[in-house]
Amino acid sequence: MTDQPASAAAAPAPSQHQPAIDLHAHMMPRGLWSAADEGRAWRGATYERDAEGRGWLVVGGVRSGPDPARLRSTPEDRIRDMDAAGTDVQVVSMTPLLIDDSLDTDVAVRAAREVNDEIADWTRAFPTRLRGLATLPLTDVAAAIAELERAVGVLGLAGAEVDTRVGDRAWDDPAFEPLFAAAEQLGAILFFHPSYSLVWGRITRYHLGNTIGNPAEDLLAAAALIFGGVLDRHPDLKVVIAHGGGPLPFGIGRMDRGWQVRRIARTGLLHPPSRDLRGLYVDCITWSEPALRFLVDTMGADRVVLGSDWPYDMGLEEPARWIRGMTSLTDDEKRLILGVNAARLLASGGSR
């Protein structure tokens, strides 16, 4: 597929018939469930039940939850849920809560292969309903590249989900250049999604670590890719940022000002950061129609994809119906967001 501007997108079918492709949907690997049932740890992660029977995940000393019961769905259960929600295709990625940068490389590689094989099994069983994103052992870039090549080339996954940082390193770290080059060459999607936000370090109350922290993480990942020059060096890299990119469209004016007045903001970027907004995609999870409208106005309707965050409580229950019901979006914009943009990203070898 070619990269057409929004107004020239083909097929004038109304948005009601546009298949809905949800690019932001999570899974928990069966290895974790088996281990939890036997009271064992899985790759350093444990699963605990509280007095009320609710499940909590403990990874690297961080306890998160309670988990939604649906997290343990079979692919068949998942597809029934998708049918009820009006979602045609889910692009499945491991729950980012399981990302653990403290694992030894060999353990991380084994874990990634196990998860990616499982996701690939699902996509082969339900090829018209499920696609997949790999998880990668990112603390070893060479190992991550090898697994990405296997996941895309052998398993047929569409790319990988990655954290908004790797340990203490941001995505502008030169160590990640070979990974971006490999992903670009493979036509692989890189879906940036936080595992744990910096806000938890300031305040642990009121769920602000998620509600303010996750969008902040998404923004920091986008800013590292933009200011670090990653998007400029890799013009065909398919980048998708979770949660609407956080406050990226709203905050870009201040970032432009910083670029204008501070030399340190220009070390990796020869143009204002706002010009790179069209070099990435974001999902629609803004929790506000006015915010989504602002996002579309700032980035273009051809840059926004459907996302649900299934099956978490901070996710959209019926993402496609939410988009279809909006009065502030045109029918063309709805089609792009519902599935046209995601289909372009998922097309193998397609460029952004």
Partner: protein, 335 residues
Amino acid sequence: MRSIDIHAHYSPAVVYDALEAGRDWHGMRMERDARGREVMIRGEQRKTRKPRAAWNVVQRIQDMDAMGVDVHVLSVQTWLYGYHLPAEVCIATSREINDDIAHTVRTYPDRFAGFATLPMQDVPAAIVELRRAVGVLGLKGAMIADHVNGHPYDEPQFLPFFRAAEEAGALLFFHQLGGSSIVKERNPRYHLSNTIGNPLDRTMTFASLVFGGVMDACPDLKVCLAHGGGYVCYGIGRMDRGWEARSEARTSLPQPPSRYLRRFYYDSLTHSEPALRFLIDTVGADRVVLGTDWPADMQIDWPVSWILGMASLTDGEKEAILWRNLERLLDLPTP
């Protein structure tokens, strides 16, 4: 058209006269670096003095005239907050700074109003100084940072302070300690510590006050958030969802956080007309006030004509933002 700027920083003569004369000021001194720039030093703090921060009040007024700004509501350069210092030192520095600001306001009453700085690490002392600043010195309230040495404002120790501010009718203007944001440790490159960190810190201040129940406990508290309130208006939908889905988000908050948006004022420092329009659409034009961040490099360069030139704002909205809201909020005399 009249214009009143709520976000304009001030270099007190009481501090800089001492430093320029080579004297120590409460443990602070000034040196010249290899390039001849003046560097203020206090313990671990080092701050290079920018040229316009060295201007005197007459030069400042000339610049205000050039920009078409009638009134600056003065707040001290934030590196002078001093929350990390022993309380008795910060009490002394705050008193001297506030006396200086009040003197400048009295000298040019039609050009300036003022905010106090407070020793927030000692809540009873902060209350005493706030009452003095408002009741005796005639200042309009205080500028305070987004947290006090890492303690957010939902902590119960701060509630007496907010009650005192409410009782005094003081406006609290929230503004980070420059260069200290939550993003600094995470990514110190590209000025993101400022361009993302400042709005993010402000968003957490809003959330601490709202989710922590401070706004309910103090129904008449007057609060203004600098930098357009950070990401508050854009991110409020997700905060509402968190309130809806999570019991821990409702421990101190009987209504969704979006219900509190109009309890706050927001300055116009968004660096984007669409973002400012979005802010107005979300919180109302009666809640947005002119704020420029003079004399920082992250300021709005020509703030009055920036607002006047906006095609997406009505004349009434421009008037409200440029002066009407602040004249009412601060009870400033109409010229």
